[in-house]
Structures are given as C-alpha cells and as structure tokens.
Amino acid sequence: MKRSLAGRIWPNATAIVLALGFAFPVYWMFSTAFKPTRDIITEDPVWFPFHGTVEHFATAVNAPHFWTLAGNSVLVTVLAVGLSLVIALCGAFALTRMRFKGRKGILLTFMIAQMAPWEVMVISIYLIVRDADLLNSLLPLTCFYMLMVLPFTLLTLRGYVAAVPKELEESAMVDGCSRRQAFLKVVFPLLAPGLMATSLFGFITAWNEFPLVLVLNKEPAMGTLPLWLSQFQSQFGDDWGATMAAASIFAVPILVLFLFLQRKAVGGLTSGAVKG
C-alpha cells in the first residue's frame, strides 16, 4: 500500500522532533560536563563543546570518597539484583506452573508488596536497623534493595515463564530428565531474555535508591553514589560543569547496560507475547 507524500513526511518529522526532545537532556548533561566553565556560565548557550575539557570529571572523581562509594553502589546493586532474580524465579515458576492452596493470597501479597512506599517507611526501617546495630553497613541496604526489586521481578517473570510452552518441559521429562533438569536445561535458557529485561529494572531501582541510604548510612564512606551525587551537588551547586560531570559518571553504567540489553528486553517481551 502506497502512502501519500504528506502521509510519509508527517510521521517522520514528528519522530525527529520527538527524538531530539527525548535525547536532548541527556546530550545537555554530557556536553555541559565537557565544556569549560566560561562556555557554561554564559547568556547564550554553547551548543557543542568545541573547547572540550575533562577538568570537571577530574573534580568529580577526586571528590572525597568517590571510589569507595562507587564500589559500594556496584556491590549493593549487583548483590540485590542477583539475589532477587534467583528468589523471584523460583516463586514465579511455582505461581505460573502449579496450582495450590493459597495461590491467590500469595499473588495478592506480592502485588501489594510492589506498591510499598519505601520512602515513607524509612522511620520504622531506621529503628529496626538501629536496634540491630547495623547502621552504616551495606548489609541492610542490600536486603532492602533486594526486596524493593523482588515483587516486580517476580510478577514480571511470571509472564516470561508462562510464555515457555509446557510441552517443551514435558517432552524433556519424557526423555528422562528430572523436573529440575528439565527446568535448568530447557526452560532456563529460554528465560534468558526475560531475566535480562527484568534485571534492568532491578538495576535501575537499586542504583537509584536515595531516601533509605540517606537515613541509614550517614557515615561519609558508607553511602552509595546517589548520596554522593546529592552531596556533591549541594557542595558544587554553582559549578554546573562539575555537577553535570558527576551526574554523567553516575548515569553512564546504567545507560551502557540499557543500550546493551534493551533489544533483548523488548525482543524478549515480543516473543513472549507471541507465544501466548
């Protein structure tokens, strides 16, 4: 079917405008980070950092505790997401492939857990962690981030598990696999895109978490990068170059991860839905 010229121009023009609109804040962050200060503090914006500099990045990286907090962030995020993936996968499998008493109640529990407003529970969490003598430690952060991610991961993985035909598992079992072997050898590889897609959200959530670490880990070396960024910003508030460099450093790991995984994520979603 041939479309008229106008019919082809409009969608493309809209798409270009939208693409610019969505990408611009990200571009502006990076470009500001590379501009010398005189190009930042100016009445007329400089659109491209022709006189690029990395001094702002140096300021950010040399800020106190940067490397420690970056390490903390990576450790806590990877542990929390890894743990929640394993736990959620077991649960998702049970909820999708088995029928048992109390199934709906359990499902509702996770749906409500997904709605938990963690930000407003910081007080009680603070008291619990304080009484356990675990303030300024990475252990409580890991545990709570794991649970922040868990319900969404579990509910989402259900969709991916449901999309794998039961017949595959059954034929593997007929061929002599145990149920566990059938799962690990046949179902698990098919779930890989789903696991990657859901882990992305886990990474974003845990990498971003702010209120809890703000209240629980006040010791300067025991925080995570969001805390560092917020403190950096209040310290260097007027130095937009350094602030944007700090924001860039914080954003890059997730941006890279996302660019690598997003096709898997969306692809996995589509193939899953087709299976239905």
């Binding site: 809209t14 798409a15 270009i16 939208l18 693409a19 969505f22 804040p25 502006w28 962050m29 930042i40 077991c90 649960g91 049970a94 909820l95 088995m98 709906k104 359990i106 409500i112 709605m115 938990a116 407003p117 930000e119 407003v120 007080i123 009680s124 008291l127 619990i128 709570f144 649970l147 969709g159 449901a162 035909p165 039961k166 079992m173 007929v174 145990s178 059938a182 859901t198 992305l200 959200f201 974003i204 990498w207 209120p211 937009w240 944007m244 700090a246 924001a247 914080f250 954003a251 997730i254 941006l255 660019l259 997003q262 994520a265 996995g268 979603l269 589509t270 899953g272 839905a273 239905g276």
Partner: protein, 340 residues
Amino acid sequence: MAVQLDDAVDKTAPQTGKGGAPPTRRGGGRRAGRGPRPPARHSPHPSARRAPYLLLLPALLATAVFLGWPMVRNLLLSFQNLDMKELIQHLTDWRGVGNYQEILGSEQFWRVTLRTLVFTAVNVVLIMVLGVLIGLLLARLGKKMRLTLSLALVLAWAMPVIAATTVFQWLFDSRYGVVNWLLDKAGWHAMAHYDWVGTQLSTFFVITVLIVWQSLPFVALNLYAATTTIPRELYEAARMDGAGTWKVFTSVTFPFLKPFFLATTFLEIIWVFKAFPQIFAINEGGPDRLTETLPIYAFTEGVGNLHFGMGAAISLLTIVVLLAITAYYLRLTLKQEEEL
C-alpha cells in the same frame, strides 16, 4: 515491563494455559523420568504438594522480614508519640489514635491528599495518552527512523532519576538554563530569567515534564512491542470494512491489548503516586510546602520535623489511599486468575 505480557498470555490463550490436564498433577513431574506418566493421577504425591510452597518460601520469607516487619513496626509507631527525645532515650510513649485524630482533623492532610490525587491523575493521563501515541507512531515508522526514535527513548528511560533530576535543574536554571534562553528567543522575553521553582504551578510543571519525559518510553516501547503481536489479519479485516485510524484503534488495538493498558496504567499510577526523588530534589516540596505530595509530606513530617510517630501515621494513611485507588485493578487481576 512484561506484566502486561502475562495478562496478554492469560487472555489470549486460555486453552494453552489449561494444558488439558489438572495442573496439580504437574507437581508429580519428578517421577516422570521413569517413563511416560499415567494419564490421570488425582492425588498428587505429598512432596509434589509441598513443592510450590518450598519454591515460594524464600520470596515469602524475605517479604515478611524486610517488608512485613517494617510495616508492623510502622503500624505500632503510628500509635506512639515518638519525637527526638523519645528516640534518643529509647522511650515508648503510647498515644492511642491521637496521631490519626490530629492528622485527619488537619486541613493540611486533606489538601495534600487532594493534591496528590490530582497530580497522579494528570501525570498518568499524560503518560498513557502520549505514550500510546508515540507507540503507535513507532509502529508506522520505517526501520531507520524507528531505531532512531527508540534509541532516544531508551536514553531518557535509562537515565537514573537522581541524575535526570539534576539535569532538569540545570535545564530550568533561572539564569543560565537553556529553557529560559529558548523561551526568550522565541519572543517570550518575560521568561528570560524566570524562576521556575518560585511558584507552585511552575514547580509542578517542571516536575511533570521530568516525570512524563522519563515515563513515556516505558509505555511507548512496550506498546509498540505489544502491537507487533496483534495478528495482521485483524487489521486487514478492519481496513477491509473501511475503518479509519481511530476506528482501527478502538476496534482492534485497544480490545486486543486491554490487559496491557490495565497493567501499564496500574504501574504508572503506583510509580507516579510514590514519586519521591523527583519532587524532593527539585525543591523539597516547596515553595512553602505547596508541592508536597503524600510521600513527601510523610517524609517531611517524620524525618524532617522529627515527629516520627506522626510521620508513621501519615505513611500508613498514604498506603491506604494508594490501596483504595488501585483496588479495582487488584480485584480484576485476581478475578482473572480465578478464570484461568
């Protein structure tokens, strides 16, 4: 992201879901290695009956400890008078329903609640409508253009909230912000040095742009992915009947993707309702506490003003409000499970 998928699966192919045999039988699969299973076994093996509970145990245990416990603690706290003095001296001062009486009797709470509901509604409607439009646009684009737009969407989507909030402060900076420069150049000279966080409405405007910008990609990309699963024949049949774009959407796309729309709307409602770092980092609920939503209000009262008991009571009421506005979806999903 694939929550809708799940529903789509449930809805579009209930037959596969049922799989011909009573599902409880599957628990006995461990023994299947010995040969083809007998076609009907009505009482599953005891170990098979335990299997789902064992598999769910870690998730339930973690939820009970790391969510249930703080919730219970929060509930108890909401009946206490806990300020700095009690906190430091480890005192427990029960107050009964005093906190609740005080909050429910204050005008401030109701104003914040109403504001939160309006804020959530405006954002979710914008996100859903624009997200669907962009998703449909993606479906119409050529391959290259679709990739370009997808890439831009992914960039916005992947920006960590705290970083994005910092960038938006820079974009909307009163003196050197590029937004004011653009508005000035476009002929609106009054905006040359406009202070965006100076009034309630303009602060909410910045927050809304930030939230919508970050949330649209989720809806748009997933809607596009979901539309690719709609059988072509449905579209062709609709076109054959002379349906226009709008008619095709209402008669094919929407009914087919109804579970997607429900699940996404539900997720966006809870995400926007709970939005914290965006509002807090832009202006800490200011000016004059005029952009406080319920989560910010609870945080400010509890942690900021050191009325921990009051903060706990507000946070509990916040949960009740959130449950009330999502009850419809929860009920619907559970009912769907029943039909499975």
